[in-house]
Amino acid sequence: MFSFELLLDAVVIGVLLGCFYAAVSLGLSISFGLLDVPHVAHPAFLVLASYAVYFLNEHYGVDPLLAGLLITPLFFLFGLFAYRLYYETFERRGSDAGVRGIAFFFGIAFIIEVLIIMQFGVDQRSVTADYVGKAWRIGEMRIPFRLVVAFVVAAALTILLTLYLSRTFMGRAIRAVAQDQEALRLMGANPIRIKQWAFGIATAVLGIAGALLIIVAPVEPTLDRTYIGRTFCVVVMAGLGSMSGTLVAAIILGVAETVVLTLFGASWAPAISFAMLLGVLAVRPQGLFGRRS
C-alpha cells in the first residue's frame, strides 16, 4: 500500500486541507485566542455564513467567494452585536463567564441550527462556481481547484490579519487588550470598544470562511457540531491568538489527517489528530506558538 508518491500526494492535499482548516479557525483564534470568549457558537456562525452564501449563489448567481465578501460587512455588524450581548450579560457582571459563557454560546448555536432548518430544510446544500469540480494537473498529481482556492484565501487571510494586528493602531490595541486590559484603560483607551471591534472582525472573517466551507464540501444545518472540536483543536494547538501559528497548526492537523486517511487505517484519522492535540497540551500547554503565561 505504501508508496512515496502517495505520501507526497497526501502531504500536498493535507497542506491544502490544513489551509482550509486555518481559514475556518482564524476567527476563533481572535475571539477565543485573543479575547478569551469561549465561542462555541463559532462553527454555527460559520455554517450560517455558508447558508447565506448558498442563498446568494442559488438565487442571484453570485460567485460564492464574492458572496462571502458581500456578507462580511453584515457579519461584522452581527459580531458587534453578539459581543455587546455577551459583554452585557457576562463580562460586565464581573468574574467567571467561563461555564455560563459556554452554555450561552451553545444555546445560540442551537437557535441558529433550528433557524437554518426552518428556512432551508434539512437537506445538504452546495454552490456552483467555475472552480468547483475541476482539478489542476501537475504531472501525475491532480489538485482540486477548490482546495487551491482555500489555500489562497487562507494564506491571504492569515497575512492580512497578521499585518492588521501588528501594523495598525487598532490591531495593536487588540493585541494589547488581550495582554493587559488594565494597562490599556490607563492609557485612555476603552477596552470594551476594542474587544467589540475585534469580535466584529473575528465574525466578519467568517463570511469568507463560510464561503470556503460550502465551496470545499456541501453543508447541512448541523454541520457545526463536527467543527467545534476541529476549530478549537487548531486554535489551542497553535497557541492562543497567534495567526501564523493557527495556519501552521491547521496544516499539521490537515497533513496528519490526510496521511492517516490515505496510507494507514482511515478510520483512525480523527483519533490521530486529537491525540496530537492532547499530546501538545500535555507537553506544551501554551500551544506550539503560544505566548508565555
Binding site: D9, I13, I117, D123, R125, T128, V132, G133, I143, A269
Partner: protein, 414 residues
Amino acid sequence: MKRRTLLGGTIAVAVLGLTTAAIGQQAPIKIGMSMAQTGGLAGGGKASLLGIEVWRDDVNARGGLLGRKVELVVYDDKSSASETPAIYSKLLDVDKVDILFAPYATVPTAPLMPLVKQRGMLLMGNFSFQVNSKVGHDMWFNNAPWGPADSWASSFLDLGQKAGGKTIALLAADQEFAQNLAKTAREVATKLGMQVVFDQAYPPSTVEFSGILRALKAAKPDIVYVASYPPDSAGILRAVNEIGIGDNVKLFGGGMVGLQFGTVMENLGSLLNGVVNYNTWLPEPQMYNDGTKAFFEAYTKRAVEAKVDPLGYYLAPYGYANGQMIEQAIKAVGSLDQKALAKYLREKTHKTIVGSITFAADGEWKETGVVQAQFRGIKDKNIEQFRSPGKQVILFPAKMKSGDLITPFEAARK
C-alpha cells in the same frame, strides 16, 4: 413562512381528522411511529412520513378502514437509538395505538425490536437493515427492498464480474449501515473469487476525499464499491471528478446513500454520470404500478410546501406501500388482531405502488427489489430532469432492465 412550516408540522398530527370528519362516529384506528424529524436521518424521515401521510389521506378519502378513519401518531426520535424505547412505550401504553410502524433506518429501530416482540405487536419496518436477525420476531415485516442480506452486494458485483472485473476496492463510511454493506460485499467478493485490493472505512467527519481516493486509485481496482452517506457521497464524487479514478475501473458506486435524494442529485448534476448505484424506485416505465403515478403527483405537490425531498423516490413510496399493505391486511382480516394480520402479511403477496411484495420467514423481502442503475446524460442544476426516464438506466434486476452498462467508468462519465 417559518411559522407555516412549524404549524404544519405540529398541527398535521393533531387536526388531521378535519377533512375526514364525516367518517363514522367510532374512534379512529391509530397508527403509531417515531420518525426522525431532527438529526442526521431527518431528511429521509421527513420524506418517509410524507409518503405515509399521503396514504392516510387517501385511505380516509376512501372511507377509512373498518368504517373507522385512520390517524397517525408520530413523534420525533432525533435520529437516535436512545429515544425510541420510551416513545414506543408511550405509543403502546398511553396512546394505545392499534398498529405500529417502525422509524426510518436501523439505529432507531434496533432498540425497540425486543419491546415490540415482548408485547406481541406487529411491526412494519422502514428501511432498517437486518435488525431482526438476532431478535427473531415473527411479526416483523421490513418494507425495504433489500431482500436476502447478500443480494445487494451480489447484484452490484455480478454486474462488475460480467463486465470483466476481477479486483474490487471497498470504500465504506465507518457507520452502521455502510459497514453492514461492506461486510456483505466482502463475503460476496470471496464467493465470486474476486480479490479485494483496497478495503478502508473512512470516519464520518471526513471533509476531503482526494487523499483516500488517490490511495484507492493506486490499488488499481476493476470495481469500486462505495458505501457512503449523503454528505460523503457528494464529497467522494467531487473528488473522483477532480482527480480521476483510473481507466481500469469498470464499475463505480453500489451503495452510496444520498444519490437518491433530489437536492443531492441536483447539486451533483453531471458529476453523477456513469455512476452505478442502488435505488429503490426510479421513474423508468417498468417501475410504475397501479397508483404509483397518482402517488407521486400528490407527493410532489406537498413536498415543496413541507420542504422535504421534492423527488421522494427513495423512501416516500415505501411509506405509502406500508400503508397499503396494512390496509389490505385489515380489510382481509376484518379486525385489528395482530396475529391474524401478521399471518396474512406473511402468507400473501401484496400489490403496492412499489410492486408485488412477498415476505420471507425472517420478515425481509423474499426477493430483492433493489435496482442498480447507471446515471446517464445528467446536466447541472436541474432537478426536473430526474423525473424523466432514461436518466438512470436500470441494469439489475434483469426483469426491470432498461439498458446496458457502459464501461469503463471514465468513458461512461463523458
